[in-house]
Symmetry: C2
Subunit: 358 residues, 2 copies
Amino acid sequence: MSEGFVVAILGATGAVGTRLIQQLEQSTIPVKAVKLLASSRSAGKVLQFREQAVTVEEATPAAFDGVDLVLASAGGSVSKKFLPEAVKRGAVCVDNTSAFRMVPEIPLVVPEVNESALYQHQGIIANPNCSTIQMMVALEPIRQAVGLKQIIVSTYQAASGAGQSALNELYTEAQDFLDGKQMHADIFPTKGDQKHYPLAFNLLPQIDVLEDNLYSHEEWKMIHETKKIMLGDMDASDIKVTATCVRVPVPISHGESIWIDTGDPTATVDQLRQAIADAPGAVLQDDPAHQVYPQPVNATGTRDTYVGRIRPDLENPGAFNLWVVSDNLLKGAAWNTVQIAERLVADDLVHPVVPATK
Amino acid sequence: MSEGFVVAILGATGAVGTRLIQQLEQSTIPVKAVKLLASSRSAGKVLQFREQAVTVEEATPAAFDGVDLVLASAGGSVSKKFLPEAVKRGAVCVDNTSAFRMVPEIPLVVPEVNESALYQHQGIIANPNCSTIQMMVALEPIRQAVGLKQIIVSTYQAASGAGQSALNELYTEAQDFLDGKQMHADIFPTKGDQKHYPLAFNLLPQIDVLEDNLYSHEEWKMIHETKKIMLGDMDASDIKVTATCVRVPVPISHGESIWIDTGDPTATVDQLRQAIADAPGAVLQDDPAHQVYPQPVNATGTRDTYVGRIRPDLENPGAFNLWVVSDNLLKGAAWNTVQIAERLVADDLVHPVVPATK
């Protein structure tokens, strides 16, 4: 591996981090060397990259010396602290946290939708929220084929979206419930919030914190990230979006029930199906006569976004319901991040830049 | 118990049947005697009613001789077979199956919404589908207070909606999954359909059969029952309704993410909250600052419908999102059935009628 890039993975030991390693191993990116960075707590652990043992190092500014590409998924505060340092040292960073998503100058990218935004990057590219990404993969081809005026989405979000320890909590709670014991919650709905509730065999209509406008931060992200990705402006009004985000007792892969108004009263289910069938990253799973529709158990471990149950709203011409499932840790996180890095490499966009922020 | 009614429970041994017994025990109905009826398979079993042992009898036409009130929950075909026989013999029947819901002359009743329809009964009153009932309890007060023009609902429906054996399947699958074993499905998504998929740690966007119009029968029910209950006509167009129904790995209590357009652009969250707070059968659980919102674990075992997460659609004045949870076996089935029977008794409507059908 003498030619290629030095790639650092920040947050290498988490649920997304381990998948970043795996997706990078399987990617087309020529990797000269990999650096696995994490908190001091995880430093010293030995992980594998393409059959080589790699010791996890503590993330420090100096750890980014000589790094070409950073893939970050260690939390928003960690990204805020280290990514500007990495950019200063000449690296290009793809950040899978919410730290920079709403900075107007920073591209927020789903490659199937707005790859061209990568050309504006100033060192940092933001990876959208998991629940937004899969909705974009499903809806962009419909927007291109017939139009898109309004989105009303209800999510069914998997436990792993809150990290590996949250996923472990779901399993522990589930076993306790089946054993007739009291369930104990420390993490859900949201780590660090005042109250915690069990998720196993339950539903929690709170993902991330509830804000003063009555929306959860997750719902806010779906609304504004959609506008930024599709229209280039987080407050654009050409597409109206509203969202209700609910955590469900599923380990991996989010479901989304999406109602859309295409704005075209002549639009048909066949047009939408064809648009999905032709779309990159999307797979049509829509054969009601044979009970074929997207399910988390089938989506998990794959990079695609699955779309089915496409039906016309019988009383609103041009409006449709659909059901979308994707692996939140892959397309919703690690794969979309590595996919952005692949495009950066392919488009020759991995080079030192003047930092966007000090 | 010399004064009062002879009450028969048809389908006494199922998940809903056992709750019909419990709800009848706790009801205001003066019960002179109770008859527990089921298939020949369950005949001979001994159950309790108010500390009396009652032997389950096989359901036959003659078993309804002398019965005043029938509470039925043994499946649509059983109701179709026996309820006309019971009516012939002078009984009034409250039917918790889909057998008669769409017969125009047969009242479909949620007492909080359209109790007056009971006065038109001709021997049979239909209890609506579980997912419809809780939506009606939540939305009728809003309709009365500010109006209602459009409903878009996504459901998160509990396993017990498919019966006790389905609930057992969820638990068996969950234990197998936690033990690292293959999950095995015989019932979900729908008993008798061609294919079966595991529900534990998964999501199934199919409840009841998928029909030629691409909607599941459950979705069809939510659309047309809503119109019949609120507007008196299953095809009324004054309120537009569309639905996506999804089974989730929760044992008891359905969740619903509901978007509504009230048609009043000046409507406020406070108005909606007040309407719910004042409404019979509904409980407002909506305090985002203290993470208070409806959850299945809290609703289970109670008769009420819980409403929270009420938020304005920020781009559509007069439109709102809300989150509704209720015990599908109680308000969604056994309690609504017994509640109808209580109203029939209170309004002196339990008396022999000329049969509506031969």
